[in-house]
Amino acid sequence: MNSYVPILFMLGLGFAFAALSVFTSLVVGPKRYNRAKLEAYECGIQPTPQAAGGGRVPIKYYLTAMLFIIFDIESVFLYPFAVAFNKLGLFALVEMVLFILTVFIAYAYVWRRGGLEWD
């Protein structure tokens, strides 16, 4: 049972942080509402079908979001690697360079095919 205590602790910490964030923003955040701010998703997607384009959602936002995930995953691997760098030696360095290269090939592809241009 004792081994679950840290997990419970982390769980509590998480809830506490979330609650604190919401509460803090309620208290200290500026309240300047505009049209976009009042929309359901606050992210550029309109909840009702658009007149042009037949109600389809622009894919650009998702492209950017997915690009973010690529770098997100990359950093997930980079952190433990950096922490244990001394112990891992040359092998891991080569591995990591290969990994980053692979990810960058995808990035280059997105860039060349115009995935980074908003319009």
Partner: protein, 539 residues
């Protein structure tokens, strides 16, 4: 409080005290490595190559890379063993991610060769600028301004080649992985490109997009089953490595046995979904029909090979000691698959759906071989996969040539009387139909004979399966015979159906597929022998 927590955290760690580098036999993994690099090169070509040369370069890169990988299998075959991992000296466990053994290399070779034929059929342009079967703008509505703009801008879909090579990489990895997590990764690596490829048909786009979405949703659903099964098996054995699973079955406490059967079966569900076994088959006809025809052929041949390889490894290495728990489940699935596949193929009126149900029935026949549980069964399954794969790629390639007003004529009535106007294509297709039916002197007969005799040799259950199998193949003979009758003995429809003249690449694929079907029917001994020698798994 912090002080109390931190020691507890460090106690939890099960990492080895010192970092231990993986042992990697680079020669053994060379085929996989080459294919992966080929795919990356394909991505770079897509990014930097001028548009007018892209198609040709992409095809050359893909075919060249796959050929090189196929050649490197010869060297890999003298480096059999477990690799990509480490031996844990303290617990005497071998924690390796990959198993380079006979079945793995045999299937890698088969997938590579069939993949080359698949790429060649996908590359068909009929004199246009891009691959003919694929839309230049996959996400757009057919006929929408977006699509027109894309076409005017000269957009191409040469991404299909790197996507296909990525899929092939996943397929090669699938039967090679030696643990459940690796298997899951391979499953996703092979699936994701296929989801995209499915949605890229140039004509009948909505059908194609619908197929893609269905395939994706149901694939995700089946992946969930696979993962849930993995979790249960991990709970049971405390490890995801097949070696640990196998030994845990004799050592795990009896109280945990409740996890074993559902865990094993759910993992199998994830794999059986990929081969289109009943009741996890529902996606097959819709996806086969909606996907661009060359992709369908590639998918039918190579995905089946990869997934059966994974099933074999799981059944013969990972869960072999618990066979008494789960084999009945697979027997039920095999029976259902054979019966439903062959019975439903009777009423199909669309050629691609008909071939889809035929592929379901074939999956059932192959499962009969899997359930033989001996080396003969493994050899028979390996042979069947190759024989079926080559025939099916050629069959779908021919389907892609039969057209009416430029669009593929897949309705059976459009095939009526094809034998009179286009005897060569119709005869080749008729021959492939005979192979699917298992008529002697085709590879279909030898492969059916091999799996059924392996099953009969394994005992009473196997004999029952074999008899049901023979009965079901008798049913499917009607289906194929109907196609032949239609082509040769019926009046042609009023509106003209033509067989477009393909490029040398597609012609090559069809010729190789058909000739292999014939050769494996007349002189199958050498491949049977190779499959037999390759039927030993390493642990």
């Amino acid at each position: 409080m912090t002080a109390a927590v931190l020691p507890a955290l460090s106690n939890l760690s099960t990492l080895p005290a010192a970092f231990q580098a993986s042992e990697v036999n680079y020669v053994a993994v060379m085929p996989l490595f080459i294919v992966f690099v080929t795919a990356l090169i394909g991505v770079l070509v897509e990014a930097f190559m001028p548009r007018e040369r892209r198609h040709r370069v992409q095809v050359s890169v893909a075919v060249g890379g796959l050929l090189a990988a196929a050649v490197s299998i010869f060297w890999a075959s003298s480096n059999l063993g477990l690799t990509m991992g480490l031996s844990d000296g303290s617990t005497n466990r071998s924690l390796f991610a990959l198993a380079i053994d006979g079945p793995a290399l045999f299937l890698q070779g088969a997938i590579l060769l069939m993949g080359i034929l698949g790429v060649l059929t996908m590359a068909e342009r009929f004199g246009g600028v891009g691959p003919d079967a694929f839309t230049p703008s996959g996400a757009s509505t057919p006929g929408s301004p977006v699509e027109t703009a894309a076409t005017r801008a000269g957009a191409l879909t040469s991404e299909v080649f790197p996507l296909t090579v990525f899929a092939i990489f996943g397929m090669m990895l699938f039967p090679t992985t030696n643990d459940l997590i690796g298997m899951f990764v391979a499953l996703e690596v092979l699936s994701l490109p296929l989801y995209i490829l499915t949605g890229l048909a140039r004509r009948r786009r909505l059908l194609s997009q619908e197929a893609s979405l269905k395939y994706f949703l149901l694939g995700a659903f089946s992946s969930a089953f696979f993962l849930f099964g993995t979790a249960l098996l991990y709970g049971y054995a405390g490890s995801v490595y097949f070696g640990d699973l196998s030994s845990a079955i004799s050592t795990a406490p009896l109280a945990m046995n409740g996890l074993l059967l559902p865990g094993a079966f759910l993992v199998f569900v994830g794999l059986l979904f990929k081969v289109g076994a009943v009741p996890f088959h529902a996606w097959t006809p819709d996806v086969y029909q909606g996907a661009p025809t060359p992709v369908t052929g590639f998918m039918a041949a190579c995905t089946k090979a990869a997934a059966f390889g994974a099933i074999l490894r799981l059944a013969y290495v990972g869960l072999d000691t618990a066979r008494w728990e789960w084999s009945n489940a697979l027997v039920i699935v095999a029976l259902l698959t054979m019966v439903v596949g062959s019975v439903l193929s009777v009423t199909q009126t669309d050629m691609k759906r008909l071939l889809a149900y035929s592929s379901i029935a074939h999956a059932g026949f192959i499962l009969v071989g899997v359930l033989a549980f001996d080396r003969t069964g493994v050899g028979a399954v390996l042979f069947y996969i190759v024989a079926y794969g080559f025939s099916t790629i050629a069959a779908f390639a021919i389907v892609s040539l039969v057209r009416q007003n430029g669009a593929e004529a897949t309705h059976l009535s459009q095939w009526a009387g094809l034998g009179k106007a286009h005897p060569v294509a119709a005869s080749a297709f008729a021959f492939l139909m005979l192979a699917f039916a298992g008529i002697p002197l085709t590879s279909g007969f030898v492969s059916k004979f091999a799996v059924f005799s392996a099953a009969v040799g394994s005992g009473a259950t196997g004999t029952v399966l074999a008899v049901v199998g023979v009965l079901c193949s008798a049913i499917t003979v009607f289906v194929y015979a109907r196609v032949i009758v239609l082509m040769f003995f019926s009046e042609a429809p009023a509106e003209k159906v033509e067989v477009v003249t393909p490029s040398a690449m597609t012609t090559f694929s069809i010729a190789i597929g058909t000739l292999t079907t014939l050769a494996l029917g007349v002189v199958p001994a050498s491949l049977l022998d190779l499959a037999d020698r390759a039927s030993q798994f390493v642990r």
